[in-house]
């Protein structure tokens, strides 16, 4: 397979995934996009192996690394600014608070992930501490997953019951202003 053909298939898959994702949001079905994403990744992985030309070389990896670093910096700054603004305006609209928390959480997660991967490639990869480092990453991942589940589980929230907003747990924000049906 030629590189051009592979790139055309990749583009077509991106378009198909975008359409499926947008339709899934409309129809509130989140299983189909996950399945499509996994299948597409597998197809791309198999096709990439069949490409006989060089798909990416050392210059691409250097450019990719620099681009990724800049993207992380831009995203982190933008997310931090928006987070502070939204959190400061939480009294005007209570829905701003969860958005601010999500932004803060995703930025922290991105920073932690970047630091871990950077440390791995910078030092750990060449030492005997590799096993310990991977164990630490797994433990950290489990803790973060539990924290994420707790944060987004809706334990502390307002629930609509018989036309009224009822406290569930101890929500940090006031009851929603939208009518409860």
């Amino acid at each position: 397979m030629t590189l051009k053909k592979y790139q055309k298939i990749k583009l077509a898959l991106v378009v198909i995934i975008s359409i499926i994702f947008s339709q899934s949001i409309v129809f509130k079905n989140f299983i189909i996009p996950i399945i499509v994403l996994i299948i597409s990744s597998l197809i791309l992985m198999i096709l990439r192996r069949r490409v006989k030309e060089i798909v990416a070389d050392e210059r691409d990896y250097i450019v990719g690394g620099k681009s990724a670093l800049l993207t992380i910096q831009v995203y982190s700054w933008a997310a931090a600014i928006f987070m502070f603004v939204l959190y400061a305006l939480r009294d005007t609209n209570p829905s701003f608070e969860p958005i601010a928390i999500t932004l803060a959480f995703s930025t922290c997660l991105l920073m932690i992930l970047y630091s871990l991967i950077f440390r791995f490639y910078n030092q750990v990869k060449f030492t005997e501490k590799k096993g310990k480092f991977i164990t630490l990453v797994i433990v950290l991942t489990i803790f973060i997953s539990i924290f994420t589940l707790r944060l987004f589980s809706g334990e502390d929230n307002w629930i609509c019951k018989q036309g009224q907003w009822v406290k569930h747990g101890n929500p940090s924000f006031s009851a929603p202003t939208i009518p409860c049906k």
Partner: protein, 63 residues
Amino acid sequence: METKIKEYRAKNNLTQQELADKVDVRRETIVFLEQGKYNPSLKLAHDVAVALKTTITSLFIFD
């Protein structure tokens, strides 16, 4: 950085694509190398020098 890759490539009757294939990089990387716009890794510099039957110091001239 100045390079003599283009001259040595012509001496060896190689196209940019052929040289790229020999050293496992994309043709664009050879273009950037010839224009002196890319500092290659030591391995790539060595591979290019071997492919062009010369030495690294003859290919790459630093000011």
